[in-house]
Symmetry: C2
Subunit: 301 residues, 2 copies
Amino acid sequence: MRHAVAKKDGGALPGIPLGRAAPRVIPRGERPGVRYAMALSGQANYARPVTERGNDQPLPLSVDRTSPVPLYFQLARQLEAAVEQGRLAPGTLLGNEIDLAHRLGLSRPTVRQAIQSLVDKGLMVRRRGVGTQVVHSQVRRPLELSSLYDDLETAGQRPGTLVLRNAVEPAGAEAAAALGVPEGSEVHAVERLRSAHGEPVALLRNHLPLGLLPLPTGELEETGLYRLMRAAGITLHSARQSVGARAAAQAEARLLEEHAGAPLLTMERTTYDDTGRAVEFGSHVYRAGRYAFEFQLLVRP
Amino acid sequence: MRHAVAKKDGGALPGIPLGRAAPRVIPRGERPGVRYAMALSGQANYARPVTERGNDQPLPLSVDRTSPVPLYFQLARQLEAAVEQGRLAPGTLLGNEIDLAHRLGLSRPTVRQAIQSLVDKGLMVRRRGVGTQVVHSQVRRPLELSSLYDDLETAGQRPGTLVLRNAVEPAGAEAAAALGVPEGSEVHAVERLRSAHGEPVALLRNHLPLGLLPLPTGELEETGLYRLMRAAGITLHSARQSVGARAAAQAEARLLEEHAGAPLLTMERTTYDDTGRAVEFGSHVYRAGRYAFEFQLLVRP
DNA sequence: GTCAAGCGTTTGTCCTGACAAATGACGTCC
DNA sequence: GGACGTCATTTGTCAGGACAAACGCTTGAC
């Protein structure tokens, strides 16, 4: 499960909620110093910009061939951990793949597979004729397809749910189109008021195909919808989201403890499982001051 | 350049703007029929659920070895086109990799690389012991790090830009933290009013490190900021975004032709190049009815 | 009749080997 | 001194082979 969205924003105004860890001062125009991570076996005097004091540690790397964990994955995890812990500083050049493979007793394809997975995550950049370089650590995970409930919980806010509606009813035009069922056919409709620390945060309206999974009101008040779906054996695969804003209607405002006309953040989402079936259509509104979507985008070459 | 966000929403209300192509009716619980794309060379009588009338066409695939385009990429593009054009229906099983490689005169790793790139895009799902299956065609590209200008232009709206400010000034706390420069140091500040069809759509405030690239006002009125940055040789790598909503302030409202207190969609974004340098911090507000962020999320296994 | 074991299929992982292309630094020529 | 070509380095691409693991179906046993 990767790729997500929706991180809580505790602040009152949507200013700049990103939790920047210790804003590092980088003079403009300067590029992070280049240095090599691994000591090159005394080959040529070529390509050895071991600038920042020659190699603090050679960076311990090893793989366990008796483990059932794939070798490329073991290596990728170690490199990723090294980046996260700062043992591989941004800008550092990884030794070349051939040496690295030889050092670890692996083949080059295996090493490449490990590095490639990190490149895909945005942690490293490869340049032909140059090498593989560690990217600035600002990069976090791309984002995960997570639920509001999980987001609130991991943020330490005690999420609460009030189920306003939980019924089977004819699908409206929007929900029917999103779920790919005929308009007017019966679907499951759920409406919930989600709160954090007892204060309302969002109004969640969801429509699901009938018969996909049981949705007892008790369960809905205890946990999130995605968690229930995953527990029912549904493999979430992709989602299509649309995020906008609008003014609160009277009824919404009352539920969310806002005044009518207050700005609300809106999100419509259709989620698909790995067979391509639409398994959920959600139409959510969030209190503007209480919530913001935060996510990371990667540019793939 | 992949991974993006921000697609125009012409509609007045943030209803369900996704351009669903012909909402296909799929009875609940049904899984798309399984059929094979390629005729299996008359092997065993095993695994041949060529249900839907045995193979309309064997799907023409070929690679050109004289082309400088990598073989795996040629194959990937052909498969992708086949999926998009419906020649590879959702649920279709691709023939096994070995046969496919043999048929095309390629090696299995090359075929795997092609398929893997499509799996990464979310177009296909692999299952050991089963095969590679085409996912529901609902999936579009993951999203690209695009600019509002490009979005409007590709949507056929004639984007216009009015430069309200273009100056060098001391960085405020927010911009300084985002760009990683000391507070109060000089940065480039740009403020633009972006319109479509002559109507204002968004108010764009951007801060850039000094000396990164020249920003003539004339150029800014002609094209988008990202396009200028790319033209200046800057390789955009990742961005951190936060999307929220708030009420319009007086000054904003006047510029955007809204009334004070009207709901606005807000977006803060810090963009990094491939060396990890922050190259742009943007603080944008969009008219709620005129714009919505639309994007696709993929769940990576 | 039901459950477990067996078997073939298919992808997952890994290896060895090879050549091509881009990059950056050096040396040479003008 | 500056422009150019040359060269070593490094990643990109591709081939061919091998074994392991998961899956689905059939077969067999109870």
